[in-house]
């Protein structure tokens, strides 16, 4: 996920240098990615500048204000292929430096293209997937094609998703573009044209927009817009230009009223990308666990709940004890740590200060560190011996959703592989578990579609309540904790989760008529016990809601509001079950008139102790 902007303006269209205009646009696009920034401008010559870091931090170094010209483009990056550094930052150029490309999306077949281009003598500088594009255009042009022909051919060759901008010194007045899936919108101004990932990037200058459709490519210059479809030829766009009178929501919301809802719906995709990306780093991690004396897992908030699922799977499937702890409590164990120990640090942002402190202190005592994070090369992965990445894409909603489910997927696969290595799992047991995990994205997608109406209905019913319990046993306990946290943080309803067996040791005293209680039951040894817990709550008048296996007819009969969950092992189910809990919390928040994307008193990344 990245943000791109192109401006074709001729000379003197703005009272400021073109570099400043690009910088302002990039600021509007920063939400799409913020790990590196770059731009290219054609004026006297082609100037290309880029750097790793946030826009505000590197703006001075990049000297936007000092660069003017008549066409230019900018890029703000979210790393997917290659860590965020100056070289991997966009735009990327061909061997001659005459063609530069900014790209948002993923080129799936870049490895084979890269190999082929290297054989043709092209020299690659970065680790990105994007760099194949300028070289491919260069290669095709060297065979006599025009830039546009070369771009068309390139679009036909690429597999994946993309919004591409190309500057070519051979046709210095034009910005070439192509779109497939990733958004790209033309802003039609007076003597200046824009092209960007999102309307707010140019809304200050023009409100006349032309939305490009999948498969369209062409170029914009100061006064012209040319569009063709990769298969269907020239497109008459003159009647497609529309005036936008409202401030459109950020493009990344793409049809959802809130980022949180979008991210809940993105989970099948995020899980698939993460699971497809499992590599040998998980085997290395398994070996590190085997070699270690003690294993600890440090995390905060939602990540801590993922850590607890990981702990359960490690113990139950691989016979390996790990001590999960809330990262801010790290001093408890420090005295017991030495160089034979291992810390697994789980942090979405990789910048969580408490987790980072734990990592540093553990390292200080010689322990080795594995990091599980969603942000490539952030502080915690950088400080670790082995980083493992979830591939959930940027998460903007403050309440973690897709990063939780992908963290759990990583920790489960790690436990499965460890189980195989330690011999606690047979090859076929491992394969069954692994295969089930690869099915999870599809199951999550069907659960969302099948139960979103129910979750909205439950959200409506929970609107007036002040308190709620989430109960389960086994692997369900951390899932229940995560469900309770979601309800607390975005709908401000007090919620508490605990192992269901604890009810009679205290909490049941709070139960009165209509007190909502959520039960999570899995296909495991606790089914009968959960039924008993449902009965004891019902007997005291609780309103019982439950996520239960579809064949557990006894539970379904007893619960006031059962939701039938698909046939899965408790491990895979821990990912699937949390999804309706996220939706219920989301709808409770919306029903209460709150903004789930902006919970009070909370920040996305906690960087202060």
């Amino acid at each position: 996920m990245c943000g791109i902007i192109g401006v074709a303006c001729g000379r003197g269209a703005f009272s400021k240098p073109l570099g400043s205009i690009i910088k302002e646009a990039l600021k509007q696009l920063e939400y799409r990615g913020y790990d590196s920034v770059g731009y290219a401008v054609i004026g006297e010559s082609l100037i290309l500048r880029k750097a790793a870091g946030k826009l505000d931090d590197v703006a001075g170094k990049l000297n936007f204000e000092g660069v003017d010209g008549f066409v230019g483009m900018g890029h703000t990056r979210w790393a997917t292929h290659g860590s965020p550094n100056d070289i991997n930052a966009h735009p990327h150029s061909d061997c001659t430096g005459r063609i530069v490309v900014a790209h948002n999306g993923i080129v799936q077949n870049y490895l084979e293209l890269k190999e082929w281009l290297i054989k043709k003598g092209h020299i690659f500088r970065s680790e990105t997937d994007t760099e194949v594009i300028p070289h491919l255009i260069e290669e095709l042009k060297s065979r006599g094609m025009t830039t546009l022909d070369a771009l068309r051919r390139t679009v036909k060759t690429l597999r994946g998703t993309f919004a591409i901008l190309v500057l070519d010194l051979d046709e210095p007045n034009k910005i070439f573009f192509a779109r497939y899936v990733s958004p790209l919108i033309i802003g039609v101004g007076e003597g200046v044209n824009f092209i960007a990932s999102d309307i707010p990037a140019f809304l200050k200058h023009t409100n006349r927009v032309l939305v490009l459709k999948d498969g369209e490519l062409g170029y914009v210059s100061q006064k012209t817009v040319y569009v063709e479809h990769v298969e269907r030829g020239v497109v008459d766009v003159s009647r497609r230009i529309r005036i936008i009178d409202w401030t459109p929501s950020m493009a990344m919301k793409g049809g959802y009223p809130h980022f949180m809802l979008k991210e809940i719906h993105e989970q099948p995709m995020a899980l698939r990308t993460t699971i497809n990306g499992f590599d040998e780093s998980l085997d290395k991690a398994a070996e590190m666990i085997m070699e270690a004396n003690n294993v600890f897992i440090a995390a905060c908030g939602t990540s801590y709940h993922a850590a607890l699922v990981g702990e359960y799977a490690l113990a139950k499937l691989a016979g390996r004890l790990a001590h999960p702890f809330i990262a801010s409590e790290y001093t408890k164990y420090l005295n017991a740590i030495d160089e034979n120990d291992l810390l697994i640090a789980v942090s979405q942002s990789g910048e969580t200060i408490d987790t980072l402190m734990a990592v540093r202190k553990f390292k200080g005592r010689g322990a080795r560190v594995i990091a599980v994070s969603n942000v490539v090369d952030s502080a915690i992965p950088r400080d670790s011996d082995l980083p493992i990445y979830t591939k959930a894409g940027p998460e903007i909603g403050v309440a973690a959703t897709k990063t939780f489910t992908t963290q759990v997927a990583v920790l489960l696969e790690l436990s499965y592989r460890l189980g195989l290595k330690t011999g606690r799992l047979t090859k076929s047991e491992y394969l069954d578990l692994h295969r089930e995990l690869t099915m999870v994205p599809k199951v999550v997608s069907s659960v969302i579609r099948r139960y979103e109406g129910h979750c909205k209905e439950l959200g409506r019913r929970l609107k007036p309540i002040t308190s709620m319990y989430y109960l389960s046993r086994g692997v369900g306990v951390p899932v229940a904790m995560e469900g309770a946290l979601k309800l607390k943080e975005i709908s401000y309803i007090h919620a508490e989760a605990y192992p269901a067996g604890e009810s009679k040791h205290g909490p049941i005293a709070l139960i009165e008529r209509g007190f909502p209680t959520m039960f999570l039951a899995f296909r495991d040894e606790y089914m009968e016990a959960i039924l008993g817990n449902v009965m004891e709550m019902k007997a005291r008048g609780a309103y019982t809601i439950g996520l239960v296996p579809e064949d557990s007819s006894k539970l379904i009969e007893k619960l006031d509001y059962p939701l039938k969950m698909p046939y899965l092992t408790p491990y895979a189910a821990s990912i699937v079950y949390v999804v309706p809990l996220q939706l219920i919390a989301y709808y409770a928040s919306v029903e209460r008139g709150l903004d789930p994307d902006k919970p009070r008193n909370l920040a996305k990344t906690v960087t202060v102790e």
């Binding site: 779109r179 899936v181 958004p183 790209l184 919108i185 039609v188 999102d198 309307i199 006349r208 927009v209 939305v211 490009l212 459709k213 999948d214 817009v225 766009v237 003159s238 009647r239 497609r240 230009i241 529309r242 005036i243 936008i244 009178d245 409202w246 459109p248 929501s249 493009a251 990344m252 919301k253 793409g254 049809g255 959802y256 009223p257 809130h258 809802l261 719906h265 099948p268 997608s445 069907s446 579609r449 099948r450 139960y451 979103e452 109406g453 129910h454 979750c455 909205k456 209905e457 989301y586 709808y587 919306v590």
Partner: protein, 396 residues
């Protein structure tokens, strides 16, 4: 290159079979809630997202022209529907859209906040799909068309009730951005759903609206719409030329329009809407989620709760009307009581409509009805338009 604006097609000519008796002789999209006809909310929402030209398909043009005049910044062309059914409705208006590269199509019987409409346009602009459509989560989708979604969450087809349906809890929300091709297909003779499914072949972006949304189909949908809209009313607004007795008690979020008169000892407990020139008699109690439209009279010692009175209707002295809708210019005789259905009995009787009915149901009274004194309205009673009753009648 000349920029244009989205042009909208609004379908407002529905027969309103489910709305009877309120649709008898009167278009259901012109029924009033909170001072405006239902379809006016659709048009104002479209205006708020930048639409300047709307074509409205109607079945009683002069009525619509009168009720929809004076919407700022919106030119409305009316088209009388030829033939029956929604496909015919679109067909009646094709000539306005022949040159349009895309069009907005809105159902005239949907009441939702403007953000729902904006969401669809945003989805269209941001995804690059050929079009976009509003989807709404719904636990009981049975009476609606449901979308069949692909992996990306794009709509590939709409499946009508009666066909075998996928397990999805979304329904089509009645607002679309469609490619111009759609109009050509309808003109060629395809049905509305067929034409939609054809243009959705490569996927239309689904905009998932999670706020409130009401399809005004059944009389109690009016109550639902009023409830949602009044819930958004956060403060009291009283017109300067409303006349409120210093001995009346007005509390909570209440909207009192110009010329309304509230007599001594009346209690108006919000959220409530009191329309233009309406009259609330002494010692009456107007309770939550009630919408008293223009020119109504509520006699002394009456009580209203969760009720919509259509314009110029009269509730005579000492009546209790709850969870009910009273048609235009109807007169409820003094001492008339509406009884309510709720709980298990309600769910038993309306089993096919669970999820669409409110928690209680009173009566539905058509237009120009004259009820004699001391009638009893049984729960769920429907009184046809123009009916006259004597004293002490019990109405089913």
């Amino acid at each position: 290159m000349k920029p244009g604006r989205f042009r909208a097609l609004v379908l407002a000519a529905g027969e309103g079979v489910e709305m009877r008796p309120l649709s008898e002789g009167y278009p259901k999209t012109l029924l009033r809630i909170l001072g405006k006809p239902v379809v006016r909310y659709v048009l104002e929402n479209l205006r708020n997202i930048g639409v300047r030209d709307a074509v409205v398909v109607v079945n009683k043009q002069e009525l619509f022209e009168k009720e929809l005049s004076g919407i700022d910044d919106l030119n409305i062309a009316f088209v009388e529907q030829t033939g029956r059914g929604i496909t015919q409705a679109v067909k009646s208006a094709t000539k306005f859209f022949e040159d349009e590269p895309q069009l907005l199509m809105a159902y005239g019987d949907i009441v939702a906040p403007p953000d729902a409409y904006r969401l669809v346009l945003d989805a269209y602009i941001n995804t690059g799909a050929e079009g976009a459509a509003l989807m709404v989560p719904e636990r009981h989708p049975r009476t609606y068309g449901v979308p069949s979604l692909d992996e990306r969450g794009y709509i590939r087809r709409v499946i009508e009730p009666g066909e075998e349906r996928p397990e999805v809890e979304y329904v089509m929300g009645g607002f679309y951005v469609l490619p111009g091709r759609f109009i050509k297909l309808v003109k060629k003779g395809l049905g509305l759903v067929e034409a939609f499914n054809k243009v959705a072949q490569h996927g239309l972006s689904g905009a998932l609206w999670t706020g409130w949304w009401v399809n005004v189909d059944y009389p109690w949908d009016l109550l639902k719409a009023v409830r949602n809209m009044l819930s958004e009313l956060k403060s009291m607004w009283i017109s300067e030329d409303a006349e409120i007795s210093p001995k009346a008690l007005v509390e909570g979020p209440v909207y009192i329009d110009s010329g309304a008169k509230i007599e001594h000892e009346a209690i108006v407990r919000g959220p409530v809407y009191i329309g233009r020139n309406s009259y609330i008699g002494t010692n009456t109690l107007v309770r939550n989620y009630t919408s008293v439209e223009e020119g109504c009279v509520v006699g002394a010692y009456s009580e209203l709760v969760h009720t919509v009175l259509q314009p110029r209707s009269v509730v005579s002295r000492g009546s209790l009307i709850g969870y009910s809708v009273v048609g235009r210019e109807s007169v409820i005789g003094p001492g008339t009581i509406s009884t309510m259905l709720y709980g298990e009995e309600l769910t038993k009787r309306y089993a096919d409509l669970i999820g669409r009915i409110p928690e209680k149901i009173g009566a539905v009274i058509g237009h120009k009805v004259r009820l004699g004194p001391y009638n009893v309205l049984k729960p769920g009673a429907k009184v046809r338009s123009g009916v006259k009753t004597g004293p002490f009648e019990v109405l089913e």
